[in-house]
């Protein structure tokens, strides 16, 4: 673990939360939360703490994003008008190419094991064990045609 790990500033955390909500916004039907609103910024920070190798790309990306937000007349990416944020992220993709792909990967893989998300998808929001899942016994008549064909192996 690197001793040099520095927590994100409140401004950076706020911007990161807004970026996460752009990567995975809330669903239109309201069943699935946005990744930022779900609090994934903290999970991404935890990942950076565990794997400091991720930090330079995230921090560098957030710095570039802050500069782009200032150019757009906002103090923070979170204050950029909703309709302009995607444009800014696309510009960011050109200026800091390592930032978005890595962040998207972390966001997807973190978002899709949150209990609230699983429930929104119609899956129980719990680990598989210990409750498991019931599966009904199978319909063996499906095999009738296979049985009717007789043996399909060679006897040497």
């Amino acid at each position: 673990m690197s001793e040099a790990y520095e927590a994100l500033s409140p401004d950076q955390s706020r911007a990161l939360t807004a970026v996460l909500d752009e990567i995975i916004p809330p669903s239109r039907d309201g069943r699935l939360p946005g990744a930022g609103a779900l609090g994934l910024a903290a999970a991404i920070e935890d990942k950076m703490r565990e794997q400091p190798i991720l930090q330079p790309a995230v921090v560098g990306g957030l710095e570039t994003l802050a500069a782009l937000a200032r150019e757009a007349g906002a103090g923070n990416f979170a204050d950029v008008a909703a309709g302009e944020r995607v444009d800014l992220l696309n510009r960011l993709a050109a200026d800091a190419p390592a930032f978005l792909p890595g962040l998207i990967f972390q966001t997807y893989t973190t978002y899709y094991h949150q209990a609230a998300v699983l429930e929104g998808l119609g899956i129980p929001g719990r680990p598989p064990h210990p409750e498991g899942y019931p599966v009904a016994p199978s319909d063996e008549s499906l095999l009738d045609a296979v049985r009717d064909r007789g043996p399909v192996y060679r006897q040497p």
Binding site: V86, I104, T109, A115, R126, P128, R147, Y153
Partner: protein, 534 residues
């Protein structure tokens, strides 16, 4: 341990080591097994966590090179398009295996006679049939009697339920008139011998927290230790040593603290798998065996076989409930198992259907294939994939070729400084054609089952989990390493009982057969104790 001479020393507590230990415990012999790994704690398996889907990227990963466990040894597999996948613990690779548990076909032991390729085995299906039965009882095999792809066989437990996904795929096979059958599975579908029944957790490949999957830490080992076998963990065997009489007299090993120790034994049995076994024999080179132990034929490490795997995935319109049920155990098809030269290759393959993916894996598939974008439209695109994938893998029969081999890496070593194995493997033209054929047939059946789109991967790089052929059996010491009951031609009290002894690979998963062989060897030893070393 060091002063005592045990009657039997088994190296490796995986599938084969466990089976032979249990059987030999019937004798009054003093049996000790040494295993480099630990006992596993099922409460730590990923399926007990919400982020279970990420388990396969961490300490339950497939590759010993990325897993980062100190009980693993690294493998240089950069010279192979297929990477080694294993696990080192009590239970060995069965900790991670899917439990898909078919037998070989009778014809698989007569490949040269039937098809003029590979070689015939010095034993046949009838030799192993009673041991398959014992193994089914001990491992707790679920399945359905009457499969027309096999001679009649016993299956102690009812089959794993097909679920909506399995029934959908079965419909595709039926539409084409192709063979399929519920898979024989080493999965307790009911409470069985103290094991809890399968509750369809899904992620079997990162360990079964329920204890329903028949990994040998929950099948043979409890029974073997009750019968008096001793199992010593964290013992990494460096070499088998030879006495002045030319017989194996024990091993040198490293204990948990890395201290080198000696264990003496009257009989040594190696069960370290198709890569670990040749590594140990080659590391046991000495003045009398300069090319490695039991290697007068020069064949230790050669004829290495994988099963090349193709993977075919269908995307369906409707949810399939594919996250419920054992990942790799549902139905299988042997429509393309037996040789038909009009297909352009000899021998054949099994199609083993696989269940669906967890949400994290689905998101990764979506990301990797560009189907699930970030931002606007993310949820709609994700919903098109989520719980709508089903597919299959093709387990293709690989044929033995001497240039495919396991040697010792000149530089890479494990944490005790013991040289690591190096893999050199080229996919043969026959195997490549078979994989391509499987992708095309898999596409056909998935479309017949209603898939709106099919993705094919002709060679699954991570699927190097069936390791065979590197100490082949035969009656001629010039062309084989062990005899027809696993005894090394060169060293008469040294046995090999894992997939290394396979002469050919068949087109099915190997564990049932290698365990049946281990049980057969145990009986040969038990019945020939008087003149075992003649």
């Amino acid at each position: 341990m060091s002063e005592e001479t045990v009657d039997v020393l088994i190296v490796g507590a995986g599938a084969a080591g466990a089976a032979i230990a249990w059987s030999l415990a019937d004798t009054r012999m003093n049996v000790l097994c040494m295993e480099q790994g630990d006992w596993m704690d099922p409460a730590q398996y990923p399926s007990t966590r919400l982020d279970w889907d990420l388990g396969r990227f961490g300490e339950f990963g497939l590759s010993p090179n990325s897993r980062g466990r100190e009980t693993d040894y690294p493998v240089n597999d950069s010279g192979s398009p297929i990477q080694i996948s294993n696990f080192n613990a009590v239970g060995g690779s069965t900790i991670l295996y899917a439990g898909h548990f078919p037998r070989f076909h009778p014809g698989d032991f007569r490949v040269r006679s039937l098809d003029g390729v590979g070689d015939d085995w010095p034993i046949d299906y009838e030799t192993l049939a009673p041991y398959y039965d014992v193994n089914a009882r001990m491992m707790g095999v679920a399945g359905l009697a009457g499969d027309p792809a096999y001679p009649p066989k016993s299956v102690p437990l009812p089959p794993v339920p097909l679920g909506k996904l399995g029934e959908t795929l079965a419909g595709g096979f039926n539409q084409l008139g192709w063979h399929w059958w519920p898979s024989d599975s080493a999965i307790a579908t009911q409470e069985y011998e103290g094991r809890a029944p399968c509750i369809n957790l899904g992620p079997c490949l990162t360990g079964c927290a329920q204890g329903a999957k028949g990994s040998t830490d929950v099948t043979y080992w409890p029974a073997a230790t009750r019968k008096g076998v001793r199992l010593a963990t964290r013992c990494r065997v460096r070499e088998v040593t030879i006495g002045a009489d030319g017989l194996a007299d024990g091993v040198l090993y490293y204990d948990a603290e890395g201290v080198e120790r000696r264990q003496r034994a009257e009989i040594v049995i190696v069960a370290c798998n198709g890569v670990g076994t040749p590594r140990l024999l080659l590391n046991s080179a000495s003045a009398t065996h300069p090319n490695g132990l039991a290697n007068s034929s020069g064949l230790v490490g050669k004829n290495f076989m994988f099963h090349p795997y193709a993977m075919i995935t269908g995307i369906f319109d409707d949810p399939l409930e594919g996250y419920k049920g054992p990942t790799g155990c549902c139905i299988m098809s042997q429509e393309f198992y037996e040789t038909d030269l009009s297909r352009g290759f000899s021998r054949g393959y099994t199609l083993e259907t696989t269940r669906g993916m967890g949400a994290v894996s689905t998101s990764m598939l979506g990301m990797g294939t560009g189907r699930v974008p970030w931002g606007e439209g993310h949820h709609e695109a994700f919903a098109q994939l989520h719980d709508r994938t089903a597919g299959m893998v093709a387990i293709c029969e690989d044929l033995p070729e001497e240039h495919n081999r396991v040697t010792l890496d000149p530089e890479l070593v494990d944490s005790n400084g013991v040289p690591s194995p190096k893999i050199d493997y080229t996919l043969s033209e026959n195997s490549r054609k078979m994989c391509d054929h499987a992708v095309a047939r898999g596409r056909e059946v998935l479309e017949a089952a209603g898939a709106k789109e099919v993705l094919g991967e002709p060679l699954l790089a991570v699927a190097g989990w069936h390791l065979m052929g590197t100490a082949r059996m035969g009656t001629d010491p010039a062309t084989s390493v062990v005899n027809e009951w696993g005894r090394c031609h060169d060293v008469k009290n040294l046995f090999v009982v894992d997939g290394s002894v396979f002469v050919t690979s068949a087109g099915v998963n190997p564990t049932n057969t290698l365990q049946a062989f281990a049980l057969y060897v145990a009986d040969r030893i038990k019945n020939n104790l008087e003149n075992l070393f003649d």
